[in-house]
Amino acid sequence: MNRTVLLVGVIIAAVLVGVLFMGLGKNPAEIRSPLIGKAAPTFALRQVGTTNTIDISQFRGKPLVVNFWATWCGPCWEEHPVLVANARMLQPNVQFLGVVFQDQEDKILSFLAQRGSGYPTVVDEAGKTAIAYGVGGVPETYFIDADGVIVAKYNGPMNGDIIREHLQKVMRQ
């Protein structure tokens, strides 16, 4: 029996199959954020439909939920009512903020008019804020604590449980 062949073969097979097995079930398109535990990048953006500026640092002192979305994104339609309901329940102790990018002013306004808002929505014109936050797609939501540190990030549409779970993490800080 050729021991070298057996050894080399078994090592290659074990590594390959093991790694592939562990890759199963994971979504390769989901990127984990390196910003967790770091200070949330500051920004001051224009509120949609107005000429007001909203600066994120004005929300220091309480937990903040920043939700990146767009009107053309299907899952964003699903999660919007959840966000509005939670905002109604939790504000003013927890602040909610929506950031829209890659979208059109009139579409955003009509969406909000139809489906309700209840927390401020700002427009990120050239997507620079999204880049600074490492946003890959929409919807993506960041949970920031009272000191302005990003505690958690969730990719994809949220439901009540997910919001609660992540807010608990923020509260624990």
Partner: protein, 159 residues
């Protein structure tokens, strides 16, 4: 232009690379050099919404935004290292198409060295092999299948 007007008017502030990597360390670029370098640096960044394409090549809006950001940073004098660091800080190592880990670069080199050793050893072994008896020696031209069949019949291996 309108955006510029808004920005000036409303003191808008978008998160800036400065927050992440400090002030620019290199020379601002313009014109052809800027175009060239935008593509070069863009080729090192991965588009987060595409399948593996670089920011330089991808037509997706996210990628175009990122490419514009690269162009702007280069125009302001940021170096390639700084720009890559900025994107790495917000997206993670995932966004770097050129892996930072030395392991993945060294493994092929290791394989080359090992392979050369194996080949060398095998070559030596084959050179020292005894001259095979003439009965087993195969003549070089094996093109003719008829000849091959005759040979096989003669040596007892029935096809």
């Amino acid at each position: 232009m309108t955006i510029l007007a808004f920005v000036l008017l409303l003191q808008l502030q978008v998160p800036d690379a400065q927050q992440f990597v400090g002030p620019p360390k290199g020379q601002p670029l313009t014109g052809d050099a800027l175009f060239q370098r935008t593509n070069e640096v863009g080729a090192l960044l991965r588009c987060p919404v595409c399948q593996g394409m670089s920011v330089a090549d991808s037509p997706a809006e996210m990628a175009v935004n990122m490419k514009n950001q690269v162009r702007e940073l280069l125009a302001r004098g940021y170096t390639e290292e700084q720009i890559l660091e900025y994107f790495e800080k917000s997206y993670g190592q995932f966004v770097l198409l050129k892996p930072k880990s030395p392991v993945v670069w060294l493994l092929p080199v290791l394989a080359l060295v090992l392979g050369l050793i194996v080949v060398f050893v095998k070559l030596k072994k084959l050179q020292q092999a005894p001259d095979p008896p003439t009965a087993n020696r195969q003549p070089p031209t094996a093109d003719d299948p008829y000849l091959a069949r005759v040979r096989d019949l003669v040596s007892g291996e029935k096809s």
